[in-house]
Amino acid sequence: MVEPSTTGWIDRRAVIDALPLFVPVVPFGFVIGLAVSEGQMPVAIGWATSLFIFGGAAQLAVVELAGTASMWAVIVAGLVINVRHVMYSAALAPTFRQQPRWMRWAGPFVLIDQVFALVMLQTDRPPAEFRRYYLTVGLLFYINWQWATALGLVVGPVVPDSWQLGFAPPIMFLGIVLVSVGKRAHAAAVVVAGAVGLVTAGMQDRLGILLGAIAGVIAGALVEYRDEVRS
């Protein structure tokens, strides 16, 4: 990453980093808005999933299932999809140790896939700079997500399918994975997580993410242990 601006409340570098990840989120927000307008939840409450859950896949599951499954089934589906956030929290815990208490409580609220991916490349920064970057990216996604889903309620999906913007996130995440891999242990984690993730890609509720990640973490930890023993 290029050297950022270090003054002011907003990290300009964070805005530039977040934009390419945010563009593909907009049509997804539209899809959720449309699902809310067609679903069985009262529209205002359906839209409030953006405010309070703030996680596209889980919101979509909740909105789609509401009224067609039992209340607990809807809740469990939403939670299973979001379980990966526990791992994001664990991965960032060492970095957040240097943050003030208010940041440790408030920061996680906006810890979505894209925010996690972007800030993982910034964990070496001084605490104050990391905080500004994190909050800039997090609030940018949070605010934009609100209007994107609201707009979806009104105008529906206007971006043509032929643009295939739905495939932009995996491309972006792949780039982040490859740019950030440094040590042998990380490479092992990536390869094993990817392989297990591929085999389990067909599982319900995106459980494959969890299984792939667990396998990758074990592989990475084993390689790191072996490297430490040797050196």
């Binding site: 980093d17 390419p20 009262p42 409030a48 999933t49 309070f52 859950i53 703030f54 809740i75 939403g78 939670l79 979001n82 379980v83 526990v86 791992m87 994001y88 929290s89 664990a90 991965a91 960032l92 815990a93 060492p94 957040f96 140790r97 440790r104 996680p108 609220f109 810890l111 996690f116 993982m120 495939f167 932009a168 995996p170 491309i171 995440f173 792949l174 780039g175 982040i176 994975v177 490859l178 740019v179 891999v181 242990a185 092992a188 984690a189 990536v190 997580a193 990817g194 993730g197 591929l198 890609a201 067909g202 969890l210 990640a213 396998a215 990758g216 990475g220 930890a221 790191e224 242990y225």
Partner: protein, 105 residues
């Protein structure tokens, strides 16, 4: 669906989602973590991102599946990322490959 059960769903899923995002950050902050756990934590980021990438690219019920254009787009993006170490270049390479190959296949 009643208004109250909708409110309950959003409240519970919202609260639990926040808890899952906060649990490790808040609870590990003032604690010494054993060496094996530190090792595991350092691999969490790369492993989760790799699994997420694969699942987003090939996931869905009914087993892994991808179009040839998608596979080539990932190859191009991956190559560009390793070569230039730049996310925008990687994204551009992947999306352009996706559009071009889709137009011809």
């Amino acid at each position: 669906m009643s208004t109250w059960s909708a409110v309950a769903i959003v409240a519970v899923v919202g609260l639990m989602t926040y808890s899952m995002r906060a649990v490790a950050i808040v609870s590990l902050a003032d604690r010494e973590v054993p060496a094996w756990a530190e090792r595991a934590l350092r691999s969490v980021g790369p492993a989760v991102l790799a699994a997420l990438t694969v699942n987003l690219a090939a996931g869905g019920e009914g087993g892994p599946s991808m179009e040839i254009a998608e596979v080539l787009a990932l190859v191009a993006a991956g190559g560009a990322a390793l070569w230039r170490k730049n996310l925008l270049v990687s994204l551009a390479a992947g999306m352009i490959t996706l559009w071009v190959v889709s137009a011809f296949v």
